[in-house]
Symmetry: C3
Subunit: 271 residues, 3 copies
């Protein structure tokens, strides 16, 4: 699919989101709960954060998409991450897994693999180090930040997609999204996105919102990455190197883009 076709897809799904206001259920980390709830609203959907085993299945069953984000994991939350993800998949709803910090500790690497295996998510979205660690490869990670971009993110995404049996998005300087057979490269983005916390988690939420009305997963994921990266570019144009202002403008740019995505600005191409 060409960039302009992907732009049409994204616009269509944003319109459907605006009309139907789908619920996007997050079982996510403490750091980004507020940011990703606000981002979900920016995109037109309705967020809910719920994690208790007593309700997590009932909540997930009502959602049009579910985010499983293991950013501040603990054994008490593992069951909730699993239950929400499995419930949504059983109902045929998209689940986006964010293996935050996989590779940084053995606990996180194991948990990421367990979540991927047991949930069978629709999409896994991580940085190069996180995705590498899920393949048993060595990634360079410091806490939750990948230290380097791989020479070939497309290859990494493709291998991971094959192994994990789902669409995999590797985000970094350049993003790659693959279903194991076809792969897209996304060139949108801005270095300022690495200067505020939670932008990886925000991309994951953006993917989930855009998948919620249905449609081709691979192209919608690539388009979501491009859209979020473009919002980063626009925010940086306004805020420059001021991280506080950039954070505010990132929300506003993304919201503005839901109304109108300028032609030729989504930089997506087949690898």
């Amino acid at each position: 699919m060409k960039a302009e076709e992907i732009r049409s897809l994204i616009r269509e799904n944003l319109e459907k989101v605006a009309e139907t206001r789908p619920l996007v259920h997050h079982v996510t980390n403490y750091v980004v709960m507020n940011d990703t709830a606000n981002l979900t609203l920016c995109l037109g959907a309705l967020p809910v954060m719920a994690h208790a085993r007593e309700e997590v299945e009932e909540m997930a069953a009502q959602a049009k998409a579910v985010v499983i984000n293991m950013g501040t994991p603990s054994p008490a939350w593992e069951e909730s991450l699993l239950l929400a993800g499995k419930t949504a998949r059983r109902l045929g709803r998209p689940v986006v897994l964010d293996p935050v910090g996989a590779g940084a500790t053995s606990y996180r690497t194991r948990l990421a693999l367990r979540l991927a295996e047991e949930i069978r998510p629709t999409v896994v979205r991580g940085n190069a180090a996180e995705i590498s660690s899920m393949l048993g490869l060595e990634g360079q990670i410091r806490g939750v930040e990948a230290l380097s971009s791989p020479d070939d993110p497309a290859q990494l995404a493709r291998c991971a997609a094959e192994k994990l049996g789902c669409v995999v998005a590797v985000t970094g300087e350049r993003d790659a999204v693959s279903d194991g057979e076809r792969t897209y490269l996304v060139a949108n983005g801005h270095p300022m996105l690495g200067r505020i916390t939670g932008t990886g988690c925000m991309v994951t939420t953006t993917v989930a919102v855009l998948l919620s009305p249905g449609g081709p997963v691979l192209e919608l994921t690539a388009g979501a990455l491009a859209l979020f990266g473009l919002a980063g570019e626009e925010a940086a144009r306004i805020a420059g190197e001021r991280p506080g202002a950039f954070r505010l403008e990132l929300f506003d740019s993304l919201h503005r883009l839901t109304g109108h995505i300028p032609a030729g600005r989504l930089l997506v191409e087949k690898a």
Copy 2:
């Protein structure tokens, strides 16, 4: 009471808050902890967030008002919500209960009713779906967002106040506050308040801060809703449809209003 009298009441209590800097203890959800702490400070009071059973009673006993907000509930927190609320009530301090997401899952509905019954809060503040679910009525809720305003929020508030034995505030397009006998309608507010997360929780905090110096609960609650809604109007005047900017301006507008509430802008009237 007329709107101008309620404005005087609110001004008086804001002045008392500025002078005495009361502690407002929150047992609340992860998503809004930061926002409601900042809001409490904007209004001149001092926030504290504490939930451990080991300290929650000691902390609540020092507070001039307590917020009980079940937005990200779990069994481990239930006891803390109860203990904080009951301690404050035993000492005659106002407690505002926010039954976030009641009606969305059976766990939340049960928990909301249990908190209302065991704590006997001063005020319950929720959207129409949350309050309806506490009456055993059907509400339309998606996650934590009410999908529709009831035809008659005044009636809903009145019934709920009778059943729950306390002041009930139903917020939405139009707000209603009732003690079961007398009911006020509040017309302040702006659609942008539905475009950022946590504004319901922020209203709840605003009520708690304004009740902390004492005074007529029904009128202070209606006034708090009007004040917060007015802050939303002012923020939207500056920020337009930019959610990031709106969020910043909401805090600043509310803070500015603590110094001066223009005459004729609090839209409160008897139902």
Copy 3:
């Protein structure tokens, strides 16, 4: 050391941070996780928030500095606070302890003392009431806010440093930092810093980031306090009394100061 020498020290360490991007591991409270992660990034370092016993030692072992902040404590987190702190100390890395709310409840006072005794942190940073409570003295605290500045913060810092066997920073209207023998006073700061939540926790993070490349602990701590206070002054110059705008500008001012600290603005002197 004179203020200008301390300024050189701070500049040097900020440059090292920018080059090496050290990991700063936080075991911290729910309210400030997002803010302190963003602050860490503003200063050029990489934040990670992790608390599970299953990974907290492995994460702390990778960090160049660790923040132990007990702002929303519970028994389930005590072990994690201890393990992270002890791991870092065993490896000779700086640990900054923030005894949030010590003195407000007996649980917090006991926990603060336990953390100080068992971790043997490099620096303890608190307000006057928190530090007083750790000495068995009476402080005036309401929730997590000290109600008054001591007449002599330098004496308080000195006594606490002697008792706790580490550098102690007492922050308030005027800050004092002591190692028990030498004491610095810091006059930077602005009242607006008391009008948004989490600024105490942000100072603690600033100290941790500045200690991460190594160097004289006492002077770096005093310099970090001055730098953060100066950011508050600059933010207030732009935002005035608007708390929302102030919060945004605080991040941006601090980030701007990492590039250039104007001469003569760090107000640090020997007591």
